[in-house]
């Protein structure tokens, strides 16, 4: 059942990696990249989460069933967020509307 062991050095390396990623995230936020910033920050967060999941939470050594739960959780959150946020984002752009009265938001 156990394919890969989590060892003390691995834990330490993961911890350091998490700290580095945190400062990387902090650093990019100071660059003033605008919209891209959020995407980068979230991408870094996802990487950090994967580190926590696989090493700290020992997901590497666990059965597929447990991994499936994680996959489903991520999938459903992504789904909930995208399909929900697609609504306000496409209200004005699909179909493109020339007249302002039809746009619900000024």
């Amino acid at each position: 059942m156990i394919s890969a062991h989590v060892t003390t050095p691995k834990l330490v390396v993961s911890w350091l990696a998490l700290l580095v990623l945190t400062f990387l995230s902090f650093g990019t936020s100071r660059l003033g990249l605008g919209e891209a910033e959020l995407v980068i920050a979230l991408a870094i967060s996802v990487v950090k989460t994967l580190v926590v999941l696989f090493i700290f939470m020992h997901l590497v050594e666990q059965r597929f069933a447990n991994r499936l739960i994680v996959i489903l959780t991520f999938l459903f959150i992504v789904l909930l967020v995208t399909l929900t946020v697609a609504d306000p984002l496409t209200r004005k752009t699909f179909p493109p509307r020339p007249d302002p009265a039809a746009s619900p938001y000024p």
Binding site: P95, A101, A102, S103, P104, Y105, P106
Partner: protein, 363 residues
Amino acid sequence: MNELLRTLLFLPRQASTIAEEIDTLHYFVIIMTMGGALLVTLIGGYFLVRYRRTAVQKEPARRMPGTTPAIWLEVVVVVGLFGMFIAWWVIGFRQFMAIRIPPENALEIYVTGKQWMWKFAYPEGASSISTLYVPAGRPVKLVLTSRDVIHSFFVPDFRLKQDVLPGRLTTLWFEAKEPGRHDIFCTEYCGVSHSTMRGEVIALSPDEYERWLQGQSPGPAVAGPVDLRPSSVTEYAPPEPVSMVRQGERAAAEHGCLRCHTLDGTPHLGPTFAGLYGTMVPLEAGGNVKVDEAYITESMMDPLARIHAGYQRIMPSYLGQIRPAETSAIIELVKSLRDVRPKPGASEPWGTVTVPELREEGQ
């Protein structure tokens, strides 16, 4: 065929230009649905009889345990069904887009829903309650918003419906085929009198509509259909105003004041006129000002100079747009409302919708 199916399915009249098209899809979908359900049930029933235990025991050849239908049959059935559903979606979505996108030349009418009535404001300044007058044979675009909770504007005869949301504007458009009267229902549950929040669309011939707008046609000459009408609040065009106050009301409606200011103390985009006269109001720039003739006149001519705190800077200037007689009539109107108590929260603006086209509308 259309009439027969329409009557059988209990569908109302097809009074808008798109109703018949939608109904055609409706018939197709319902017939397929009913047919499919009956077919499946009949096949199931047939199997139940044919393979009943007593018969199988008499004639063991009927029994075929573990038979599975051919894979091609499954594929055909599934792909066929899926194709049909997707076809429904394609047709339905095209029709939906047609319903949702108003034509460029549509006549715009503002609709406000509130518990439990509909208010209509026309571009020329007229307004009505519960009864919407529209010209037949011309696309009409409704711009809808709500003062309180979610309502839904539904005209069964037009096959159209749109939720009416507070803090947002939604649109709905239709073209009535010919003069006639049609029910309006509120279909989003909105409180205790939800089921009485009904109204009526009266489609007039273009000439009659013009005459109604000018207030010359108190009772539009439209013969109602034979079925019973809902007991709705119906208010025809007001007779010619006499007093200053009535003239003020009319002017306020014509110039679009009532689109932001209310007369009954309900909070809206601008300060309500109810109970306003003679009070001290806070200014955005700080300090207070007494609402008197001077301040009201200034607010009409240069509204942003000293704006009431808490309200958005959206009011256009009426300098040169409004006749002096009308100005004084509106002041009389505000004066006459000094004893009307505003509702709680009326001193705060309600909702965050700005109406950018107000400038053009106000002329």
